[in-house]
Symmetry: C2
Amino acid sequence: MAAWRRLVAVVELLPGVLDGQLRRDAQLTHFDYHVLAMLSEAPDRVLRMTDLAARTNATLPRLSHVVRRLEERGLVERAPCPSDGRATNARLTEAGWAKVRETAPGHVATVREHVVDALTPEQVTQLAGIADALLRRLDPDGRLTGALDRADRD
Amino acid sequence: MAAWRRLVAVVELLPGVLDGQLRRDAQLTHFDYHVLAMLSEAPDRVLRMTDLAARTNATLPRLSHVVRRLEERGLVERAPCPSDGRATNARLTEAGWAKVRETAPGHVATVREHVVDALTPEQVTQLAGIADALLRRLDPDGRLTGALDRADRD
DNA sequence: CCCAATCACTTGTACCTACAAGTGACGACC
DNA sequence: GGTCGTCACTTGTAGGTACAAGTGATTGGG
């Protein structure tokens, strides 16, 4: 009965914790980090703006502003797509790649501290199943988790 | 291993769903709704700004702005606290109380649709335990869940 | 071909949130 | 009983996000 209220409370608090850690340690929004992380995992570390927006659950205007700021900081570069003149490719620069590599450990540690370590191994397993079930409703196409891509490759 | 990534995805998506539904159906931010809901559950539907800020995980400046806007809409009233000249009491007006009563069902239905119905009864039970464990890290004083108050009363 | 519709993105404006500084009230100490 | 420090809030300013409009590029039909 009160399960969903607690979930809402978690959903309210957790972003603040993650965001705060990244802002302090890397001058990065959690969303910024997510953008850089998605790029870092893409082939050649390049993604079209539209793809990137889907993977980060962002609207295109929002992504455009964020990428512009990241570009001003030298972490990302934009170039017109050769195959489609309408599209823009966002590429992670060397500095951006370095930023991800130096930021990721601290971020993962924060998640571990506030989530994984708070749960028993059994609960972690349960959580995986629960989050999976929720994502099937919240994100049917698996845009955020990249399930669509993996399905394409397999 | 990928459990925390899925949790992060959920934490990223769920607020948008809840916020969107409330904005459409009630012209209310999820945070606005949370403020009204906390007031509606308080004795006499009155709470000091500081208490309200703790219960909604807000900074005092943020709450001040939000309450001012809610006051302009006639949903909340502010009055100086009789017992402490520094404090301000926020009170839910009759219109605000009506707003909560007409908004709550739709909001609960949304949560039910996107969370409860997506899970098996067993998973709901597991989720309660997991969220509880997480909140002990994220919110040790139980401000959001009101555990502190209940502990005081008991 | 050429024109309309669409697409991919950018820019501009308004709202919301975070941080910093300011105001008035209370408490404690001398 | 005056003064210093703290408390509870409010206000102002900067930064980020959402929605709406605009710019080129591409596709499809006549």
